[in-house]
Amino acid sequence: MLAAESLVLPGRLHGVSLRLRPGEVTAICGPNGAGKSTLLACLAGLTLPQSGAALLDGALLAAMPPEARARAIGYLPQVAEVAWDVSVQTLAGLGRLPWRTGATEDAAAVDAALTALDLLPLAYRPVTQLSGGERARALLARVLAGTPRWLLADEPLASLDLAHQLALLAHLRACAAAGMGVVLVLHDLALAMNHADRVVVLDHGNLVADGPPDLALSEPVLAQVWGVNARWLGEPGQRALAV
């Protein structure tokens, strides 16, 4: 259980409480500046709230040794930076840094991550020679190689075309099915509606809705938070937004 208790960061979060369950895909939605990335960084233990706390299985995240926290929570930042021209395999290997295990165990975890994301054929390719979609998968493989119990990703789909978005979502869904807790900051409301188990809506640093996508992203919420008069069309799981 990953939980936030009355997180306060002046100007960014005003008392956000939240309990996340493993095995679920949770989407954090909200307009620009709503505090989505800040909430995610707090849940990852990277940003300290002024008051309130983030808890992992009841333990204060801020009090955990950084490497223990890193083994439990994988974090994929919004900026997909890779400073040096390493191979896909080496990149995924960076996810093993908090583990300090032997080379065999590290190689096995990297192999498993590359296999799960269909990256084995690209294992020796330099990251500069990857397409956008391959690069996003390689960065996700870096997180999965660390075998975290939680995966927190800040807009992992932002720079991808539709086909790659759906492919990456399928991979994330598979992670959740394997028992991982998956938390995504998503801008695309239709993707959140159709692919998340649960949606958390933030506005101006306040939690305004939290629940199944149908309820949390209902038309009144869209009007109140985003200020748009929009309607959901289609069947559950295949919804489209008409503005």
């Binding site: 960084a41 990852a44 233990g45 990277l46 040794p65 950084p66 490497e67 223990a68 926290r69 890193a70 083994r71 929570i73 994988g74 974090y75 994929l76 930042p77 900026v79 930076e81 890779v82 400073a83 040096w84 021209d85 390493v86 191979s87 080496t90 960076l94 996810g95 840094l97 908090p98 330099p126 870096r142 660390g146």
Partner: protein
């Protein structure tokens, strides 16, 4: 992937004895060793060669670590302001006339380096950000540079001024075992500290936020870097003056032979830096030049500036 470390070690093992033979007096390895030649070897050439190896190793390792830390292939150990501060210390020892007392110059230089390290650590504070830290280093560098110019312009005698200017140009002429004993422990300790920073530098490949999510303590990394660069660069300046461009160039030669991770670059860069400075110093000694010998610092800058330009042009091509 080739393994650079054994290759570089072999090259060093070959270059070191060869470098001892070259100089104004050439020593014929096949002839029996005269007493004069033995003296040149033991008291002049050997300490100078060892010093070149130490200096190059320190600068190479510091350059590799700095580029890893700043995630920028154009970074150079000089950016932290430690080299100019050490040089300022040395200049003050000339200025006050203490330099004539053997130990004063390196002691002053090391004090300068330590001062810069202390300032950097204080500025680093509880924040662990790379940008603020680097800007602080650059401010320290320009302040030290300005104070150095002030000291030179106010130098008590023209003789002191020429002494300062000559020393600043960096060289390994007429060094003895004493300088080796100063530089060796500092450089080796510095390289060991930089190696310990390797894991953190690897994590930084993914950016600061991802690195912290991997368990990196940015403050600790900063301290390791200040200490490692301070020991290697400070020790180097204390015995040889300012030698530029080695830390910038060497990691680029080595990087293609590694898997790209900064941690894998530090030791090979140390070895390649040692090789570069050893060969460059040897060439300085051999090159016939009216009015003495080409200074090592000048030679490496002559080599380094065009290299830097080449690097910039290549980076620009890659960005387009």
């Amino acid at each position: 992937m080739t393994r650079p470390i054994p290759l570089l070690l072999a090259a060093l093992a070959l270059a070191l004895p060869l470098s001892l033979l070259a100089g104004r007096v050439w020593i014929d390895p096949t002839a029996p060793l005269g007493s004069e030649a033995a003296l040149i070897l033991a008291e002049l050439r050997l300490p100078r060669a060892v010093l070149a190896v130490l200096l190059g190793a320190g600068l190479g390792a510091a350059g590799a670590a700095m580029q890893g830390y700043l995630r920028n292939p154009l970074a150079d150990p000089g950016l932290f302001g430690i080299a100019p501060s050490a040089a300022l210390g040395a200049v003050l020892s000339f200025w006050t006339g203490w330099a004539s007392a053997g130990w004063a110059l390196p002691a002053f230089a090391l004090a300068g380096a330590a001062g810069a390290m202390l300032l950097l650590t204080l500025i680093a504070g509880r924040n662990g950000g790379v940008v603020l830290f680097t800007l602080a280093g650059m401010m320290i560098a320009s302040l030290a540079g300005a104070l150095m110019s002030l000291a030179i312009s106010l130098s008590p005698t023209p003789f002191a001024m020429s002494e300062i200017v000559t020393w600043l140009m960096g060289a390994l002429t007429d060094r003895s075992w004493r300088e080796v004993w100063i530089a060796a422990p500092l450089t080796l300790a510095g390289i060991a500290v930089l190696r310990a920073a390797g894991r953190g530098l690897d994590a930084l490949t993914l950016g600061e936020a991802a690195a912290r999510s991997l368990g990196l303590d940015p403050r600790r990394l900063q301290l390791l870097l200040v200490l490692g660069v301070g020991l290697t660069v400070g020790g180097g300046v204390a015995v040889a003056g300012i030698i530029g461009f080695v830390g910038l160039m060497v990691p680029h030669f080595v990087r293609p032979f590694t898997d790209g991770r900064p941690s894998r670059l530090i030791v090979p860069s140390a070895l390649a830096g040692a090789l570069l400075v050893l060969v460059a110093d040897c060439l300085c000694r051999v090159l016939p030049l009216a009015g003495g010998e080409l200074r090592l610092g000048i030679a490496l800058s002559l080599l380094g500036a065009p290299f830097f330009l080449h690097l910039l042009l290549r980076l620009r091509r890659e960005l387009v």
